[in-house]
């Protein structure tokens, strides 16, 4: 355990990148997920096809491939750069990949929430003269969100753990699991305690998330 505590600076440094990746990707993937869901329930067939196609393709592609595509494809071959500093450039590329991937799962969760809203309410809103956008914004999405808080919590936990792929898939973002590998490679740290230490680090991040979302979903459940 001494080796682990002796390197506590790099451990904290690694987890700080993990948190940064998680928080920003969560915001983007939520926004994109809401947009995708809106498209998938829209009355315009073209929108539905686009959104469904996107979700089905990206959701069924391994995250490693998505991030490799961001690192070696978008960045290296096509020259997409976000920042002059390499560390931030790969960070934003990883955020792009993680958001694009996680949005699909957000969208799936929300769509199941949309299906819980009784159809009578939608019809009532339409007969009151609400447009599709108003209907979605005022009637459907608020209720859908409240009933999918639990599943969204699972998606957020999955996203937190998925950030570990960002250090290997052609990007090399300095997140926690990379620090762990560096510790194995350089100093000769005992393997099992180091593994356990990093696993606990992830638990510290994800357990409160689980409890928070569980509490919120009970608090905000739609009473019908």
């Amino acid at each position: 355990m001494e080796a682990f505590l002796g390197n506590i600076d790099s451990v904290i440094g690694g987890f700080s990148w993990t948190v940064r990746l998680t928080v920003i990707s969560a915001v983007f993937s939520f926004v994109l997920g809401v947009i995708l869901t809106s498209m998938r329930v829209s009355p315009v067939p073209f929108m539905r096809v686009i959104a469904t196609g996107y979700v089905e393709v990206v959701r069924n592609t391994p995250l490693t491939l998505v991030l490799l595509f961001c690192g070696l494809g978008l960045n290296s071959s096509l020259g997409l750069t976000f920042s002059e500093t390499v560390a931030w450039n790969v960070y934003w590329l990883a955020v792009l990949g993680l958001s694009a991937y996680t949005a699909c799962f957000v969208s799936e969760a929300l769509r199941s929430g949309v299906n819980t809203v009784p159809f009578g309410q939608v019809e009532a809103a339409r007969s009151l003269g609400l447009t599709f956008t108003q209907n979605l914004r005022l009637i459907v999405l608020p209720q859908a969100l409240r009933s999918t808080i639990g599943p969204l919590g699972s998606v957020l936990i999955a996203l937190t753990k998925n950030t570990t792929v960002a250090s290997v898939a052609g990007l090399g973002v300095q997140e926690a699991s990379r620090e762990m590998k560096l510790m194995f490679d350089q100093g000769v740290v005992p393997v099992i305690p180091t593994f356990v230490g990093f696993a606990i680090g992830f638990l510290i991040l994800t357990l409160p998330m689980g409890y928070l979302f569980g509490w919120m979903s009970r608090r905000l459940a739609v009473a019908r």
């Binding site: 070696l72 290296s76 290997v168 990007l171 350089q186 000769v188 393997v191």
Partner: protein, 278 residues
Amino acid sequence: MRVRRISTALAGVAALALAVTACGPTAGEGGGGGGEGGGDTITIGTKYDQPGLGLLEGQEPVGFDVDVAEYVAAELGYEEDQIEWTEAASANRETYLQQGTVDMIFATYSITDERKEVVSFGGPYYVAQQDILVAADDDSINTPEDLAGKTLCSASGSRSAFTITETMEIDAQLREAGNYSECMQLLTNGTVDAVTTDNVILAGFSSQQEGEFRLLNEPFQEERYGVGLPKDSDMCEDVNAAITKMWEDGTAAELLEEHFGPTGLDYATEQPELDGCA
């Protein structure tokens, strides 16, 4: 309900146990002492992803490290068909030796004081130098100091890049890739300006795409490749004797020419001084 809960917990524990035991390759037949092979097998760890040194082709790895390993094993009394190859990635090397997963490691394994605390080393059998590889048409980089302000690629877990940024305090930006193949990809596309690691590794990779890259041949840091052995192994003396013989009978020079001759690498022609078995 209680019964069901207990059986669920048991199933969980069983699954976990399976998952844990499934990790890592099973250990080969434990190493026999040197020189008395006869019927035993010896398990040797090497890299499977380094062209020119240890690259898996079909079922067997090929390269300079592999040939040296075969020579040393033959001196210890093991025929080629008694060698079991295992992939030893950088991060696994100490663990494999400590747990007896492998008997010896030939995998561009640099001798360092930290590592000597947990494993023993025979050799070194070759001293590589750290060097820098740039695109063939890039003439702005000729010495390590030219890397200031440039972007440098190194593989995840390698110390090479830190030598430049921390030890030599050259202000280069680091881009980490999963492995050196990815670094080569990034260098080809111009995303990074240079790749740094041991010159033999760079030479091996650049020989896969001839004419694309240029090796500076400006060595600046010694990497002494040793034979990884379990701590306080009794094979160390025999391994050293085999390495000395390999240099004296000209085999070492032949192998170096065979693997690195066409790459433009100025490889060493003298036997490196042995560390001695502590």
